[in-house]
Symmetry: C2
Subunit: 360 residues, 2 copies
């Protein structure tokens, strides 16, 4: 079996070690004579998985007791709705920063619920940058401030987070746990698992417990954060297999030295790729503003769209998958999440050098 | 590896053949060099899985073009909210029949949205039966009528469906595709996958397309059926691995002769188990009214709670898992969904005979 190098933007590469464990025990989990998929979500075998998954997330994020880790479903898309439904009370407004496609979606859903103030908008014309978050005019008395820490399509990433009076909420779907984080800066963070943490179908939510109490009981039980806190994310049947893979991935992250360990690995990987771009005498042109370059999604252009198409085609033929930029912006994008191995970067850099030599 | 006999109520047994296929290709799906979990939900490899899953469901249910198959997340619990949010318009009322714990949950969520008429309530005092659905006083002009086709806890199952003027909606989480179904009787049916169709984390919804248009655009996009119709259940990142297993399970069902084929198998399995109960000279007492006995969840009592505890303990020791009745009603419950093999029933019946001989 030859594994390809997977640069997919999400669902994305998983650690081979994790897949091999999941494969080994797929029919018989831990000698129980059943697949983990066949275990009750209220039984002992799954309970140990669930608790380890919660504990691993807590450890990796260095959480204190003010915060609760939750496993939800529906991805960031469901959070775009749940956040205003729970936290944007009658007569209140919320601050949003529009940095790209994902932030825009969050804004559209919040507007259905209440008053939204867009503090800055770099999405349409200059998606290659982000505003200076420290210089924004935050609304006094806002219910919360919403940001997107990493824009997957643009390849931009917040390098620090502003101090806001209102609780700061961040969509971290595409860079959760790529680096250490002081969670006490946030009221809530959330992420679909399918980029850095596992398969699709599981959403990680970390919420300050007092905020969860803001949701009214008139909301559907399934849309209240409180419901998931009260029931330890087992209000209804949890997506057990996804949480099991999440547990294995977070265990793998702890073995890599946690958030600090993976940050070093990620910086080395991204550094090598950006160096290849910058060292190409302008043949490859990075699209994101250098200070905001993402360590997760690296985006660049070639001299022409024809060459970009050829680049993607030849890379694919050599077992490098998922390099085509998002259809809305074009170009090349290499998504190099936590589980993308260093060898994939080396192969890509070598290919870039060859390609330039032959097509420069 | 020795497989246990799994009588779990859900998540539940999956076909061994399906698990073995999933295991074989977990690290390398179809020679692509990636796990199905690592494939893009918008790529060719996953697309073939998605389309086969949709097509299999359509074939098994014999759907015509008025209906659309959707894959959602959140289980029946999310449908309890989505149904009234989409279909219970201002000033309208909806009819609900309360036959047990699951119907009760659906009712609670509908009450948050609008006026609910409870046509009958067998949940509290007589959960062992269901009302005569043909004799109920359906509300003229109701937005819809909601029923629960199989009550997992009570072990009761609707054997036919009433003709209602308003669209009939059925929660079929615990007996979907256990038998042939004329879907044209319904406005919508839905089911969490984790009993008869796959792992937890995927919800099957089959909806008449005109009904989906009733939801207003002011609802969160993620809570509108229309959103999923428009986007072929790929509005956001679908729970791809769960849908992949759903595809394998529905393929397996087609190989078993479809809904008609599995019905024969299910009737033989359930028939054998009920015969063992009825042939025990009253040692085992079936709890559901005989005419409404479920072919999916078989519930019975022993002469004492002590003997019930001993029964569960000894069965577990002999590799028969999940036989304890729901904590709200006690007793014994054997969940014998589609994937529960005939050998499991034979083993259980033999154990029941032995247990009675030793403890009668």
């Amino acid at each position: 079996m030859s594994r390809v190098f997977n640069f997919n933007p999400g669902p994305a590469a998983l650690p081979l070690e994790v897949l091999e464990i999941a494969q080994r025990e797929l029919v018989d989990f831990n000698g129980t004579g059943m697949s983990i998929m066949e275990h009750s979500h209220r039984g002992k075998a799954y309970d140990a998985v669930h608790e380890e998954a919660l504990a691993n997330a807590g450890k990796l994020l260095g959480l204190n007791d003010d915060y609760q880790v939750l496993f939800l479903q529906g991805g960031a898309s469901m959070q775009f709705a749940m956040i205003p439904l729970n936290l944007l009370g009658a007569g209140q407004s919320a601050d949003y920063v529009n940095t790209g496609a994902w932030a825009s979606k969050a804004i559209n859903e919040a507007k259905k619920v209440g008053t939204v103030n867009i503090l800055a908008d770099t999405a349409k014309d200059i998606p290659t940058t982000m505003p200076d978050f420290d210089a924004l005019a935050y609304t006094p008395g806002a219910a919360y401030v919403h940001v997107t820490s990493n824009e997957t399509i643009a390849g931009t990433q917040m390098k620090s987070f502003p101090k806001t009076e209102a609780p700061l909420i961040a969509d971290m779907s595409s860079d959760i746990l790529c680096r250490p984080l002081d969670v006490t800066q946030f009221g809530m963070i959330y992420a679909g698992a399918q980029k850095n943490l596992g398969p699709s179908g599981v959403t990680l939510v970390v919420i300050r417990k007092d905020l969860a109490e803001r949701g009214t009981d008139s909301l559907p039980a399934f849309l209240q954060y409180r419901t998931f806190i009260k029931n330890n994310s087992l209000y209804n049947t949890a997506p057990t297999f996804g949480i099991y893979i999440f547990m294995l991935v977070t265990r793998w992250l702890l073995e890599k030295g946690g958030a600090g360990g993976i940050e070093k690995i990620n910086e080395a990987k991204a550094g090598k790729l950006y160096a290849a771009i910058d060292g190409s005498n302008g043949y490859y042109r990075g699209t994101a503003v250098p200070a905001l370059r993402s360590t997760m999604n690296v985006t660049w252009r070639l001299p022409s769209e024809e060459l970009e198409a050829k680049f993607v085609q030849e890379a694919t033929a050599q077992g490098m998958i998922g390099l085509k930029g998002h259809r809305s912006v074009g170009g090349i994008r290499a998504s190099i999440y936590n589980a993308c191995p260093a060898e994939a970067i080396d192969a890509l850099v070598a290919f870039m050098t060859d390609f330039q030599a032959q097509n420069g």
